[in-house]
Symmetry: C2
Subunit: 290 residues, 2 copies
């Protein structure tokens, strides 16, 4: 069987990139997976765990002869890597990514890659607060959604190839307009992360102001769950926030209004209206469990 | 062996009250547990599951001859029940509760019970978004903290008895000033709940404004965890918010400031400052896992 890609380069062999490399190797879909990254230690872990066939920190060596290059780094790094790889990539090499923001990033990749080959935006929804090659696992994507965000410029064959790659990794693959993707993910992922980071920082301030509180000692499952995602990678989320800025700022403002509304009802002691707000939230939330 | 209480009345045989009844029965600590409540159906479930020995919807019958009465209802209902039970309670009957707010509630209970017997405020930290007798379980409290909040008026023997009750249920029992309790729980529990309710209502608004989004279909584990507690009982949380109003409003305002701060950094595109905020949150959050 001819492999889908004789050589696949994965730039960033962390949780997402490393898991994809291993899944593609296990599926027999690729001739060779080359892992590229900054950290020698992380690359060693990736190599030892069989996530990739070989590793390098040299951009030219990383993409030489690659049929496809997956950018699995923080969104801002993805855009920068496209520029770094461009002079070394072979003509026709597919450039794809795994970033959580699509519209601004795919546009940047298409500009950078215009003279090289096709670009396909992709976002596997399989993150967690864990990171690094040590956290990667072959079945990370099993049953998870992967959203491809083709534009008018996307090559149909490249789109099919990237779909095949993610399906082989176990994903349910969908396509979506990149702008719509960023609104949806802004709401269901980026806003909750912003809320969790801000909530933890607020609690730290309350703790600082009244040291006798020892908040951490009394926290229960509710706080742990609500803020689990605040342990996510600061570098990765800094980039997501910056690259989805317009959607996220607008959505934070919707959240601010609802929080202020609830606060006002509590201040004025309006029991029935508070209960109505909470009841509405409960009914929406319960739909998430279906 | 003489039981701790010949007759223990539990008003509200839901998750907390029902679990306590069952745990006290299993521990052989009580002669008889009487379950009081509004809902005939819930009382039947409590009886069938052996959470209590017998049930009644009549206040006089519920507290007649009881050595101790546990109020395990929404905080506002606890205060009202103390008034309802007062004319029917035997002299010296201990009144205690399991509410998530203490200062305002314990003061109300002490006023209502002044001519009857001792009052002991208690808060087992073992809630979840589940509720009702069907969710109760004997081991709910195993290893969980129960905070007793004695005041200057608290009878030492009654305090020891209530400590014995919760320790028999498996709790690690601590004592704390009621005002301090409400600050701590406001921060680690009430504020995260307020945030989760408001976040879900914000997402519902985003969804309403752009129906093509179908947010629920794309939500991942992050959103589910962050908002799990938004499925909690609206009636219970309405009362917690109202009875801990001053602490909660002040803490919501700290949260609002941190959220606004993060929003401004995103708006102005200040990458290093965003990363610093997220990094600070990550470090605090990781302490919760210890």
């Amino acid at each position: 069987m001819t492999p889908l890609f004789a050589r696949l380069t994965i730039a960033g062999v962390g949780l997402i990139g490393g898991s994809l490399g291993r899944a593609a190797r296990d599926a027999g879909l690729v001739g060779e997976v080359v892992g590229f990254g900054r950290s020698e230690q992380n690359l060693r872990v990736a190599r030892e765990r069989g996530l990739v066939d070989r590793v390098t920190r040299d951009p030219a060596e990383a993409v030489a002869g690659a049929d496809a290059i997956v950018l699995a780094a923080p969104v801002g790094t993805c855009a920068a890597l496209a520029e770094v790889f461009r002079p070394h990539a072979q003509a026709g090499a597919i450039l794809t990514d795994a970033g959580s923001v699509k519209a601004t990033l795919v546009a940047a990749l298409e500009r950078a890659w215009a003279d090289v080959g096709p670009v396909v935006g992709a976002h596997p929804i399989a993150g967690s607060e864990a990171s690094g090659a040590g956290a990667a696992q072959a079945d990370l994507f099993r049953g998870r959604r992967c959203i491809l965000t083709p534009t008018q410029r996307t090559d149909p064959q490249a789109l099919r190839d990237i779909r095949t790659l993610w399906e082989a990794a176990g994903c349910i693959v969908l396509t979506m307009d990149p702008m719509l993707h960023d609104k949806v993910l802004g709401a269901v992922s980026h806003l909750p992360h912003a809320a969790a980071f801000a909530l933890i920082n607020a609690l730290a301030e309350v703790q600082r102001d009244t040291p006798e509180l020892d908040l951490l000692a009394y926290s229960g499952g509710g706080l742990r769950d609500t803020t689990r995602i605040a342990a996510s990678s600061p570098e990765m989320w800094r980039d997501i926030f910056l690259w989805n800025r317009d959607n996220l700022v607008a959505q934070i403002e919707v959240f601010e209004r609802h929080l202020q509304q609830l606060k006002r009802l509590i201040q004025s002691g309006d029991g029935p209206a508070i209960e109505q707000e909470l009841d509405r939230a409960k009914r929406v939330r319960e739909q998430l469990n279906r």
